[in-house]
Symmetry: C2
């Protein structure tokens, strides 16, 4: 098994890059968007439908999988990809974000984090080693180091100590991972933290660079700060992240945030937004989001997006989707999710083309004005 | 457009018959099972998935469609088949059953029924003509007369008056329908009522026979009586229902009830059971129902049914389904429904084969003992 990242083209206008990742026999172009399959399911769609969207890689959440179905069950299947019948690529996060955002009663020490499950209140203790052990059992192609995801408004002093722990844990994760056979076919990424502080972001990027991970994630962004601040933090830290390796911005995102991050040299993205918003009645198009619950769609025979080739757009009207939502039919979530995931992949494909054609900044400008101009 | 029913084979052992229905260019063999798409959606599955189950005809509920999305919307699309993107055959009931089971504040007169919507309390008045008008707009291939569905424990005197109204309404429905162009491509069935009273069932069957409908439904069964009583009522009324026309037992059902009804010469069935039970965690197999929530399935790598060729059985384990249910993932309903609908079509296909092979009674006996022997 193998991992390779090749940069095929650098944008001359910005730090954007067009690349290709090969991992364990699966190839995909970057910048890439990964739909989220939190609990071993991209909510409301089948693996066939994920493939039809041309998604090549999905994300699953280690924290959720440890709680349910539990590692015991996943081990029985030789990994979560077989468990959920997904034969594309997969990345698992480390649970760090969820421990800090979902769970209760956290006690953070240099050894790890003690917390209570948000499902049944059960007490758990995550350590760098226990998380990597879990990710080995889950068996994704890409796995992440356990980190502390500090709040966006944390003080400088807090973040200083937080990244010290994150760096210590990263080294422990890597040392343990490298000692295991799984390191021959699972690739561990380091997570750069540092809050909104440029000096700490730089320190974190440089410290992790020295550890020589095969790819780098940027954590602790898109956690409540403004899009402008996120862009600024990314712009200032870019030069300190190894250029020849994939860069992954965790939990992002919105077309706007993806465009800004690609402009600063980011290659990989994941976000629940397209799937979650689909279920909440928001369908994406290049001209903005359609709020399908709006009564003006009641008799609308048009499809969500005449330019979209997804199953939903080829077969169903806005009026039908509006009706399914009103009638609380589960098919609503399925059809909306099919569309939004496909939208993201079409968006990424056009974004990659714009880099290839040397017109990324124009593309960015066009989408920023069309996607956000209004709601249909 | 056209309608034709051909009986291809009579069972020599029972009143079971093997037939073929051609309607508006769509063909299917009988006995046939119709999945229910109440509100223009077979709950949690796409039209593609309905086709994959080899379902050729589905049912939709006039009552529900009148309330939501409303006839106004359906008219805009030229019928509910186009609205929901279903290109197989369709049958609509008349709303009679729902008016009596779901709605409140009923006032029944010889002219029709006044009631309140179970959704918003809005007052509505259904008459034989208004129901046929609605079914014309909805546009199914097969439509039904408006009838009164009496409770299974109604007195003889009540049912005498009830079938008098049902017969009067049937004639009004037929007269109006025959006067309309839609009668060239929509086929109206009469509904035989009569409660559990053999004399009234006979009277209803004979009265409606005289009206010469292209097919006949048996209503007012599977409404709370025992399976044995239902079988008895069917057995005694069979000789009074025209033999050369399709016979449809409304709202049935269970494999047991289908087997009993086929034995008494019934050709068509519909029921929410396979789809509803799927969502409630019950997967059907020829050896009985699997209650997937049972914790013994937690690590079970086997599929629901090794003999089933559905997408669920070809790709997912019981443990995965158990997990999806626990994690409240919507994909659970989709995968379970795919299986149960396909199960029903495999069951019907084997049932038809047993008639063809002259071994229907053996098949019935086998299923009655295997399906009901236990729960897995």
């Amino acid at each position: 098994m193998s991992f390779n990242f090749e940069i095929k083209k650098h944008s001359t206008e910005s730090k954007a890059r067009l690349g290709k990742i090969d991992v364990n026999g699966i190839s995909f172009d970057t910048p890439v968007f990964m739909p989220v399959g939190t609990s071993a399911s991209v909510k409301s769609i089948t693996p066939n439908m994920i493939h039809e969207s041309e998604s090549k890689i999905i994300l699953a959440n280690t924290y959720h999988l440890i709680l349910r179905p539990t590692l015991d069950v996943i081990k029985e299947f030789g990994g979560v990809k077989k468990f959920m019948n997904w034969d594309g690529a997969m990345l698992t996060d480390s649970g760090g974000f969820q421990v800090f955002s979902l769970s209760k009663l956290r006690r953070i020490t240099d050894e790890g984090v003690e917390f209570r499950s948000h499902i049944d209140g059960r007490k758990l203790f995550f350590t760098p080693k226990s998380v990597i052990e879990a990710e080995h059992i889950i068996g994704a192609d890409f796995i992440m180091c356990f980190d502390e995801c500090a709040k966006h408004d944390s003080t400088h002093a807090y973040v200083v100590d937080s990244i010290r722990k994150t760096h210590k844990w990263a080294l422990e994760c890597k040392t343990y991972h490298d000692s295991q056979e799984n390191s021959n076919y699972q690739y561990l990424g380091g997570i750069i933290q540092g809050g909104m502080y440029d000096d700490l972001r730089r320190e974190s990027a440089l410290t992790l660079s020295d550890m020589d991970f095969p790819f780098y994630a940027i954590g602790g962004l898109s956690v409540g700060e403004t899009p402008e601040l996120m862009h600024e933090v990314l712009a200032k830290m870019e030069e300190f992240i190894p250029k020849e390796k994939p860069r992954y911005l965790m939990g992002v995102g919105e077309p706007r945030d993806i465009l800004n991050a690609v402009m600063e040299g980011v290659d990989m993205f994941d976000c629940v937004m397209p799937t979650r918003n689909a279920r909440n009645g928001e369908a994406f198009t290049m001209n903005g989001a359609i709020r399908i619950r709006n009564s003006k769609h009641k008799k609308d025979v048009s499809t969500l997006d005449p330019d979209c080739d997804c199953y939903t757009c080829k077969n169903f009207s806005r009026a039908y989707l509006h009706h399914l939502d009103k009638a609380h039919e589960m098919l609503f979530s399925t059809l909306m999710t099919i569309h939004n995931v496909r939208f993201m992949q079409i968006f990424m494909s056009e974004l990659r083309k714009s880099i290839n054609d040397g017109v990324f900044l124009d593309f960015r400008k066009k989408i920023l004005s069309s996607f956000y101009k209004n709601n249909i």
